[in-house]
Symmetry: C2
Subunit: 317 residues, 2 copies
Amino acid sequence: MKKKYSIGIDIGGTNTKFGIVNSKGKILIQSRILTNESDTIHDFIDLLFEKLTPMIRKIAPISQFNGIGIGAPNGNYYTGNIEHAANLKWKGIIPFAYMVAEKFNLQTKLTNDANAAAMGEMAYGCAKGMKHFITITLGTGVGSGIVIDGRIVLGHDGFAGELGHVVIRQGGRLHPGTGIRGSLESYASATGVSETAKELLHQNPKTKSLLRVYLRKGTINSQIVYDCALKGDKIAKEVFKMTGQILGEALANFIMFSSPEAIILFGGLTKAGDLLMNPTKKAMEENLIQVFKNKTTLMFSQMKEADAAILGASALV
Amino acid sequence: MKKKYSIGIDIGGTNTKFGIVNSKGKILIQSRILTNESDTIHDFIDLLFEKLTPMIRKIAPISQFNGIGIGAPNGNYYTGNIEHAANLKWKGIIPFAYMVAEKFNLQTKLTNDANAAAMGEMAYGCAKGMKHFITITLGTGVGSGIVIDGRIVLGHDGFAGELGHVVIRQGGRLHPGTGIRGSLESYASATGVSETAKELLHQNPKTKSLLRVYLRKGTINSQIVYDCALKGDKIAKEVFKMTGQILGEALANFIMFSSPEAIILFGGLTKAGDLLMNPTKKAMEENLIQVFKNKTTLMFSQMKEADAAILGASALV
């Protein structure tokens, strides 16, 4: 008999979300814990177990569960390890899938969070039925999941698909986490948008802007830039134009690599809608050679981000 | 009974090379014709047939042949067409594989020339046994073949893997063929090397260089730059340093996409050996985030270029 339920767990820098998914891709029940609340990895897994056990009991006997799928930063599908994740408290190489499997006595698969989201899009989202697509998460950082011939690209070591770290402005903005200059993540992330706003304000000291009061208070963030852009603020609008320009150039390069049917954007920055979409699409098309022009659909994900990650993780098993 | 022989055809802008390959990957007999000598595509296929027929007779009865594999610029594996190839005389969309199959009465597969070379490396060259690698041809242009999970990456439309056209210097050198600025091919090709030499000579009018006499005569090419670099010419050496820097940055971006075991360089520019290899490797490693450092082997192909293409094409069938 085909088992009916899977557990999906999405580990983020702040929250860990988890849910029970049925075979039709519906999340029947979900909850969350704070990721860095637990001091040790053992405490964290104990807490997960404590929270999930009553949820499992509520849905069905454990024998009807396929297993557990996990999306985690720097998660490696081949090894089941979380390796040197910069945003997590637990350092080094953690055999996370193995530890969870032991604790729950269920088969467990793990991959990185961006790949899990791509799997969610493929199984239940706007990439349903597609064999070639790329998802780009524009959040605090920039993540990516690449699908070719219907399969997630993992590379020889399981770490493929770090498109946030490609260099798009040689000698450009320094990424404090990697020490590399001009990477996509330095520009096309929430942090990047704030930085661009600060730069433009400094470079144009005589241009009036609603953003200046936030600059003085030190509270500029991508949401504020968006709000100001909606109010017609010139500099705020220019921030999204520049961000889209750089993102679009990067997407053109990705298209010339794997020629995907679609690129699906999600994450906080996509709330900017057309302010981001229009310049991105324009720059993307301008940087493509003829054979690729007007072939790849650029779209925003229609799934809730948390759902995509839980569903994608659950689709691993 | 397993058939013993395959025919490989490599169509280039200047020469079309073809050979008969046995099941061990040995080219038993080969020849060539000029690609643009024939006025029509029909004349060209007739000429191929005329040249290949006696070669086939010499080796074995036609019943012992698997078929014909073809590598061609802008060749599309899915359709068997050559589509809008800039370097060929025959314009538009040509159903080349179909026409060859009709003429020879043998099953025929076609892919682009760079993918054929990658298949040659995978079947018989230094990528033997590898499941994840990228080949980059540094010739008149820059071509690429990408292998992921042991398969050539074709993309949704069969045109994936145009890494020569990724933009690596935003707003940089204009590519006359594509109209795009700053693409890899504008720098890391034979043409790019000549251009870089001319630029450096102009930018440093007071620096003595053996290259100046060729500049005056209008005969600078990548071979001359190489010869001068070997003689210790400062500007010529700088040309390869700059070329390697740009190439290395691009390779780092490719690694963060598909995390290959190896990148294999071939084509005319690789004759420059360490003059090119050292700065390329340095720039590549410098632009990788930690998780990818010192994992991907950068190497020169050990196959003769023509052999790789014929063998790769033959491996299609």
